[in-house]
């Protein structure tokens, strides 16, 4: 089924599915993964220039130049993607069509508190989440600001002379440190947080397929299921 169709017109074949991500969003994620991965593997050897493993990889000055060019090309790709993403958000906001689903709200605090109680065995039930749960919002916003930081600091250390024409010189060493450190922080975060939640806790491939099954909707996004279908997602509650 096409990702562009409205959510509640999901066609049930053997199993009813719900559109979670539209084709554009799936493409955005694919570009994000690819460019970030290229940036990471071309960035780490540059960060660790003093280490012998890096010097083994970058065994000639030409290779250093090459890896920098690959890094810059991937950076441009990611920057274009970020501009598209922000541009689209601004466009939607201007037309009052922006979904508030991804923005943090008080419900996330309540859900997090609820989840914490659950994790400490103080409650038997998990929170019933909306379209995006607070874990997913943390992922999005952590990476949103992480990538913003990477992008800004990256362009500053790519064009330090140009940027210091109007910015104070201190931003250059600060950007160098931020770029180098934030990259590792973001990588650690993705491995711990994102990989656990989408690969280990359960295999959530909706960002690639664009769809969630009815069971997944009920189990992990109960409030969204109720909002979309008007039916209670209580079947799971009975199981517990």
């Amino acid at each position: 089924m096409s990702g562009k169709k409205p959510i509640n017109s999901a066609i049930a074949r053997q199993e009813r599915t719900f559109t979670r991500f539209m084709l554009g969003q799936r493409w955005e994620h694919a570009i994000l993964i690819l460019s970030s991965f290229v940036l990471l593997i071309t960035g780490l050897p540059q960060k660790y220039r003093g280490m012998s493993w890096s010097q083994d990889l970058l065994s000639t000055p030409e290779r250093v130049e090459f890896i920098r060019q690959v890094h810059h090309i991937a950076a441009i790709v990611l920057a274009l993607e970020a501009i598209y993403h922000l541009g689209r958000a601004i466009y939607l906001m201007a037309r009052r069509k922006m979904s508030a689903d991804m923005f943090p709200n008080m419900q996330d605090i309540y859900d997090a508190w609820h989840m914490l109680q659950y994790l400490f065995f103080l409650r038997r039930d998990k929170p019933v989440y909306g379209r995006y749960n607070f874990e997913q919002k943390v992922t999005y916003w952590f990476l949103f600001f992480g990538f913003a930081l990477m992008g800004i600091s990256g362009f500053i250390i790519w064009f330090p002379v140009q940027f210091t024409q109007f910015l104070p010189g201190g931003v250059v060493p600060a950007s160098k440190m931020a770029h180098s450190t934030e990259a590792v922080v973001a990588a650690i975060f993705i491995v711990i947080w994102h990989f656990y939640h989408v690969h280990i806790e359960r295999l959530n491939l909706s960002i690639f397929t664009g769809r969630l099954s009815e069971d997944e909707m009920k189990k992990f996004h109960g409030r969204e299921y109720e909002r979309v279908t008007g039916q209670p997602a209580s079947k799971l509650d009975e199981e517990k």
């Binding site: 000055p61 201190g170 931020a178 450190t181 711990i192 656990y196 806790e201």
Partner: protein, 369 residues
Amino acid sequence: MTTRNLYRQAPWLVITGVIVLLASLFVTFPAVAKPPMQQTEQYCLTCHGDSTLSMTLKSGETLSLYVSQDQLDHSVHSNKGIECEACHNDISTYPHPELKYETKRELSLNYYKTCEKCHSDNYAKTQDSMHAQVASEGNTESPVCTDCHGHHDTRKPNEPRTLVSETCSKCHVEIVDAYKQSVHGAALIADGNPDVPVCTDCHGVHNIQDPRTVQFRMDSPELCAGCHADKKLMDKYGLSSDVYSIYKRSWHGVDISVYKARWGAVWHDSAVCTDCHGVHDMKKASDPTSKVNPKNLLSTCQKCHPTAGPNWTDAWTGHNEISLARTPTLFYVDKFYTSFTPFILWICIIYVLLQIIHSIVDRVRSTLS
């Protein structure tokens, strides 16, 4: 009777004799404190002490044959009893064999080889030097032993230490002039400072290498670090001994160390100490004529970063650790990544661990029930 008496006294005589002999073993004569006697010097000087004695070489040059007593008195050799013929080994008596050299230079270039007899190590080192290389390319002016050390008045080459730069300035006039203006040269000349480097401390003594090579450039930061990373020495002058370790972590320093480690033969322009501080004319940063004085820093940066604007110099953190006063932006970024970010990451880790523990407990429970 007398013989009998003698026989009686014989044991005593023998004992006394033995004691005297044994005692004599412990008697040593004091070492000769006076200079050893010169056998031939005075003999040679009967002719060569005449200040007008000279001869004309085939080239038309006049070669003075005068050797003054004063020169010899200052020579390290004469005072050690080393004779004229130790060096002039083709001359043993009068009349002398005919001098076969056509020019004075030719004479020097042949006579200096006798230095090798005693100073074979240093002689061998000079054969690897820049000077020897230039000589082998046909430059007869390239210095040999005697050009630096003198011949009849060979003195200790570094007493006083200023003598070293004076010796080099015989040829390298402009460089020594620049050195004399530097913080090192000025301290040497004004105070006879024993810590500042003289020419030979950086360039080596006998195996002086070409300082314009890639290798010399790559090694030069460590050369400076020899003193400038020495805490005891730097404390004496109120200087930081961290300049080198901080440089090594900087963009320039990392770049240079990679090139040095892997591509030692490739010229690389990333800055080494001398690119910013000057080669022979390095001065205190507070000196208004210093290349690294705040007033001149931008033009120094612009040598490599020609389009850099006035803010650019602040991008250089100097040889300083991160501090709020000097590099506030960097200070806050550092604080952010050393306190806030690890805190957030730990929360994430703990949260995920709690989830893992909970799911394990759930599985165990569902298996047991």
